[in-house]
């Protein structure tokens, strides 16, 4: 069991499975195929991200450094939250980027989404956590790898 503490962007208590990308997650490329085709779950469609390509991230904790790519990113996150096919939590090792931050705020303010977001968990967090790990998130920004 290992514990990390980050900054709370959107608070919540949660337990579940981690999906880990050790490289920047391209939001549009990741979500677009599932969202555009109205799928009940997000199967990652970013061909350039071998860490998570083809993985189901709906209802999981997506662990990542930052998001990258198109500035539609925030709207994409808001939309998948509205469709309720979003990752349950976004756990950033670095300072959250502006596109992901927009998406989380839009989802919270306009959709009342319960999406959880913690950033600045540190490089060690991303080195330690692995896809498939069970993790626990506390509303004070504590993340425990069980």
């Amino acid at each position: 069991m290992k514990e990390f503490k980050g900054r709370v962007i959107a608070a919540g208590n949660w337990k579940g499975e981690a999906v880990v990308s050790r490289q920047g997650v391209n939001t549009l490329a990741t979500f677009q195929s599932s969202a555009m085709n109205n799928k009940p779950e997000v199967i990652v469609s970013d061909q350039n991200n071998s860490d998570i390509y083809g993985k189901n991230i709906t209802g999981k904790a997506l662990c990542l450094p930052i998001t990258i790519g198109s500035t539609t990113g925030g709207l994409v996150i808001q939309t998948v939250c509205d469709m309720k096919i979003n990752p349950a939590a976004f756990l950033f090792s670095e300072h959250i980027d502006s596109l992901a931050a927009s998406g989380i705020v839009l989802a919270r303010v306009w959709q009342n989404s319960p999406v959880i977001c913690v950033d600045q968990l540190g490089e060690e967090f991303l080195k330690t956590v692995n896809t498939g790990d069970q993790i626990e998130i506390k509303e004070d920004g504590t993340v425990i790898i069980l």
Partner: protein
């Protein structure tokens, strides 16, 4: 009222308290919460009022977008200046679609296009020609000056405005661009602060020939991610003045840095405005170095995955112009296609080819004899967003799409070809 950290004026607090209506309150809440995440101390006025929005497509799934637009319109809210917006996804006149494609586009994917365009007009869209990702071209006229504070989105436009024009804009997301334009205010953080515009990376270009902007930008984007690069050695190949040709190069370079990474600002030694003013003092004390030579560019190029089932097959549908072509690029591609066909003795290009540019540039080009020359090759001219057109299962099932755009490659299954290779394939030179 939400908890917030930044200093707000009495009027801004009044908006946040809902005294100017519930919808404007939510707009202000979003912008303030967003700014607080980045430690913004205050909201600052947008000094260049005309915005550029990224969301131009009426995708059926974007319900939150249309609901928000309806709320904004019902509240009588409009942007302070006019705005342009990214290209439309479809243009049946110039990019022909079969029955199945039309059914998918009209009924499944872009079912809200008409409604959304009407919403855009009500909020403050410039005019029906205002659909382009390159609003900063002289023909379009949405072009800020050095030091202007913007509320723009579209990653390729933001990186161009920051780097080439010297304006100040963060990599805003869709919706935040619009909210900033309605309030006339943006949170002060990131690229709005001079210190944050300093470079984290010194990228040293040591190639033996002029690097392709699409691959150079891709390499830098993948390495630097959201950091600011200062590129040295490139002026040897593209000069020290920002001409029309150089703007085209930097537009393609920047789009690749922004889509293959998250670069929002770059500096080119002896060329871009802040690099010219500050020289190497623009580098942060703890900067890192990245050397790019011919081998590094080839390594990057060879690592691009080819998403076609049959990798030895030829392209069936080619898009040139993501981001939209400059007028000069459009003329140049026309000349090369015409000359190439003349050389090979063929009458038409080997694949259906669509060149894309802004509606205003397209109008200008269509008034010249070159337009008929372009049509004579079999190519067409359109102003759509190739990404939004191609990125669906039907298109990928029906066509093997090829492009010279690294951005389009990144977001679709289109295969990337270097300019020269694509030209050779199109004019039938390959294998002759």
């Amino acid at each position: 009222m939400i908890d917030y950290k930044m200093d707000l004026t009495a009027e801004q607090i009044e908006i946040l308290e809902g005294k100017q209506g519930e919808t404007l309150q939510k707009v202000m809440e979003t912008v303030v919460l967003f700014g607080d995440i980045f430690g913004a101390k205050r909201l600052v006025p947008v000094t260049y009022k005309d915005a550029h929005l990224v969301t131009s497509f009426g995708l059926g799934v974007l319900k939150p977008l249309y609901e928000t637009m309806d709320q904004l319109i019902a509240a009588g809210l409009k942007t302070k200046g006019m705005f342009t917006v990214d290209p439309r996804p479809i243009d049946y006149e110039n990019v022909k679609c079969n029955f199945l494609e039309k059914f998918v586009f009209n009924k499944k994917m872009y079912s809200q296009q008409e409604k959304y365009e009407a919403q855009l007009h009500q909020i403050g869209l410039k005019d029906s020609n205002g659909f382009t990702c390159t609003c900063y071209y002289p023909e379009v006229g949405n072009r800020p000056g050095k030091g202007d504070i913007l509320t723009w989105a579209e990653s390729s436009a933001v990186v161009f405005a920051n780097s080439v024009l010297g304006a100040k804009c963060n990599r805003n997301s869709g919706m935040l661009d619009l909210f900033g334009a309605i309030l006339g205010l943006v949170p002060e953080f990131g690229f709005l602060i001079d210190e944050n515009r300093k470079a984290h990376w010194k990228v040293i270009v040591k190639t033996t020939k002029k690097p392709l902007p699409q691959i150079l930008g891709s390499a830098i984007g993948m390495k630097c991610m959201e950091d600011v690069p200062y590129v040295v050695g490139l002026d040897k190949w593209i000069g020290t003045e920002i001409t029309d040709e150089v703007e085209g190069y930097l537009k393609d370079f920047g789009a690749a840095t922004a889509s293959n990474g998250a670069v929002g600002l770059y500096h080119i030694e002896n060329l871009t405005p802040e690099a010219k003013e500050q020289g190497e003092s623009i580098l942060r004390a703890d900067y890192k170095e990245y050397i790019i030579d011919d081998a590094e560019l080839e390594r990057i190029y060879l690592n691009y995955p080819i998403m076609w089932k049959d990798t030895s097959a030829k392209p069936q549908l080619v898009f040139i112009g993501c981001p939209h072509l400059t007028y000069n690029q459009l003329c140049d591609w026309t000349d090369k296609l015409v000359a190439g066909l003349k050389e090979t003795g063929k009458k038409k290009l080997t694949a259906r080819t669509v060149l894309t540019t802004t509606p205003d540039v397209a109008d200008k080009f269509r008034a010249t004899p070159k337009y008929q020359e372009l049509l004579s090759t079999g190519a067409t001219l359109a102003s759509i967003c190739p990404l939004m057109y191609t990125n669906n299962p039907i298109c990928m099932m029906l066509h093997r799409v090829a492009t010279n755009s690294n951005k389009l490659r990144t977001y679709s299954k289109a295969r990337y070809y270097k300019d020269e290779d694509l030209l050779n394939i199109l004019v039938g030179k390959e294998g002759k």
